[in-house]
């Protein structure tokens, strides 16, 4: 079991937090994680996080859904049993295309939306009965918490964080295997 020390700086205002993030980054400290009760606009940019690629996956899933819809209806309605249903032309896919469009559209949206949500859950490790990884319950209500790894620089780091307006600074032994 490996343990390491982290420092938890707690803030009560998102503006103060944003400025603290900028200061800490300019001092070249690595920010492990930030816990906030709500989305803070621009926080990801200030932290220098890479943009999400979720939209690209959604587009690809949509293409997959469209392909599934086309393949399914082409097989069922045109190839497997091309019945005359109310005089609709089932000689080729193209001739009967308008009737298939509503399903093609819906399946595109369905695949795109659902697979993207599932991708999101998997990438962010969210599932039922998962134990919460919250270091301090107050961060779900009105506090903001910045977690920084300590590398024998506790004193300097604590002073820096204090100067950025942290209301509380805790040094915690973090158990890497706990979550």
């Amino acid at each position: 079991m490996e343990t390491s020390k982290v420092i938890h700086a707690i803030y009560t205002d998102d503006d103060v937090l944003m400025n603290a993030v900028k200061t800490v980054r300019s001092e070249k400290h690595h920010i492990e994680e930030i816990y906030t009760p709500f989305p803070v606009h621009g926080l990801d940019k200030a932290m220098g996080l890479a943009p999400t690629r979720l939209a690209i996956t959604a587009f690809l899933y949509g293409c997959l859904g469209l392909a599934v819809a086309i393949w399914m209806m082409d097989f069922i309605m045109i190839k497997d049993w091309p019945q005359d249903i109310g005089g609709k032309p089932s000689f080729s896919f193209l001739e009967n295309l308008p009737a298939f469009v509503p399903i093609m559209f819906e399946l595109t949206v369905f695949f795109s939306a659902h697979l993207m949500v599932i991708t999101f859950y998997m990438r962010s490790r969210l599932w039922p009965f998962k134990s919460a990884e919250n270091p301090d319950p107050r961060t779900t209500d009105d506090h903001f918490l910045m977690e920084i790894t300590v590398r024998n620089n506790e004193e300097a780091l604590a002073t820096l964080l204090k100067s950025t307006g942290a209301v509380e600074i805790n040094i915690v032994d973090k158990n890497e295997d706990a979550h």
Partner: protein
């Protein structure tokens, strides 16, 4: 920031108008070399020598009476095929002129509706673009009057129900004469135009007055807000009726309920596209320093979204009629698919697939040349849209995009540029009195 139309632009626009007028004139001369039925007989004979396939096509479309949506009524009344073709040849330059006039008028009217929506919704991002929109809407009045003038001159060359002799033998049109009569058509046309032009006049007046007013005096802005809300109500009724009058009535035997919305989507996306194009043009001249790439992003999002909205309405109209396949409704699409296959389906690719794939990416929406490229494709697509609304009813299978069509685009395009860029020079490019202008200048997405 001030803008003055440059001499180069003015001369360029005038050259376009002259070239266009020459093209239009050539179109009329060209069509009138066929004076009577005998000339057409010669034409048809010479065409049938070109090859077997074309011969078969002519014979085929002649034998199939359903293929003539506009001509159907004519043929029923014992008019020979040659005379029918003669009418189509004569109708073409009028229709080409009408299509060009409608297309550019729709851009201005679409921009006007967009402008009113910005006021009514109190949008915080768009006030920096208001002067561009106001300039584009300067074309509403002259453009609309030209449309009405062409309709008046073209008469039964475009609107078959304006021909007394046709109405006399056509029960379907007779039952519609309480709406479809010439006096009513022009009175309604003038009422629509007057309403739109009045709103435009007062909106611009209040917008300029707000610039000069005291910083705490928002009375002009409040007036703008109220008239915008009133205008939008008036607009949605009149726009729908205008589309019945000016477009749907070219096929007086056909009707569709969502037609007004469909025409609206077309003009709305064209208007937004032109707002984006002119903004990019002025920005490239360094005249709009307060417009940033987030504004461009928003305009491109609107181009993207409304393009898809247009496709939704196009498809809803097409699919419902295709699915039920009721003969009296479906002739409309039969003519378009048989005689206008490429423009009819080509415009769906241009108006849907291009914007869908090019503008989906968030980063691309901020790249000016990308938006310009897509904008040109969208505008061409919506020209084809108006073209396939009018032409099949008047010129039938005798269509082509040649001198009269390109001439009309050049003529009205030149006129549009002249009026819009002259109007752009009349007021400062920043509507500084607008209470949302600070927010708009700092708009960031």
């Amino acid at each position: 920031m001030e803008y003055k139309i440059s001499n180069r632009l003015r001369i360029g626009a005038i050259i376009l108008m002259v070239l266009g007028a020459l093209g239009i004139g050539y179109g009329f001369m060209d069509s009138h070399q066929y004076q009577n039925v005998d000339d057409v007989k010669e034409l048809l004979a010479s065409e049938s020598h070109h090859g077997v396939s074309h011969d078969a096509e002519v014979a085929g479309s002649h034998g199939d009476s359903e293929a003539h949506a506009g001509g159907e009524s004519v043929e029923e009344h014992g008019v020979s095929h040659e005379e029918h073709v003669l009418h189509q040849i004569h109708n073409r330059p009028y229709s080409a002129l009408y299509v060009g006039a409608l297309f550019f008028f729709f851009i201005a009217l679409g921009a006007l509706a967009f402008y009113a929506i910005q006021f009514a919704s109190q949008a915080g991002w768009s006030p920096v673009l208001f002067r561009v929109m106001e300039a584009i809407t300067a074309y509403v009045l002259p453009g609309g009057l030209l449309v009405l003038l062409i309709a008046f001159v073209a008469d039964s060359h475009i609107f078959i129900w304006m021909d007394e002799s046709v109405v006399a033998t056509d029960t379907i049109i007779q039952n519609k004469t309480s709406w479809l009569n010439k006096t009513g058509f022009f009175i309604r046309g003038i009422i629509y135009l007057a309403g739109w032009a009045l709103y435009r006049h007062f909106a611009v007046k209040f917008s300029v007055a707000q610039d000069l007013a005291d910083i705490n005096d928002n009375r002009n802005f409040k007036k703008s807000f109220r008239i915008a809300a009133g205008f939008l109500v008036f607009y949605i009724y009149t726009e729908s009726m205008m589309s019945w009058d000016w477009i749907m009535s070219v096929d007086p035997h056909w009707f569709s309920t969502l037609f007004g919305w469909y025409v609206f989507a077309s003009m709305f996306v064209s208007g937004i596209t032109v707002i984006a194009l002119i903004t990019i043009f002025l920005k490239s001249k360094g005249l709009l320093p307060f417009v940033n790439d987030s504004h461009l992003h928003d305009l491109a999002k609107f181009m993207f979204g409304i393009s898809i909205f247009w496709t939704y309405l196009w498809f809803s109209q097409f699919m419902l009629i295709w699915y039920a396949n009721i003969p009296e409704e479906v002739v409309y699409f039969v003519t378009r698919i048989e005689d206008y296959n490429l423009p009819f389906f080509g415009m769906v690719a241009l108006n849907f697939l291009f914007p869908l794939l090019l503008l989906m990416n968030s980063d691309f929406k901020r790249v000016p040349w990308f938006v310009v490229l897509t904008g040109i494709v969208i505008l061409f697509g919506h020209y084809l849209d108006v073209y396939t609304m009018i032409m099949p009813a008047t010129a039938g299978e005798r269509w082509f995009i040649g001198a009269p069509e390109i001439g009309s685009i050049l003529f009205f395009g030149g006129l549009f540029m002249l009026i819009v860029f002259t109007a752009l020079g009349k007021n400062p490019l920043l509507a500084k009195g607008n209470p949302f202008i600070k927010e708009s200048e700092h708009f960031h997405y």
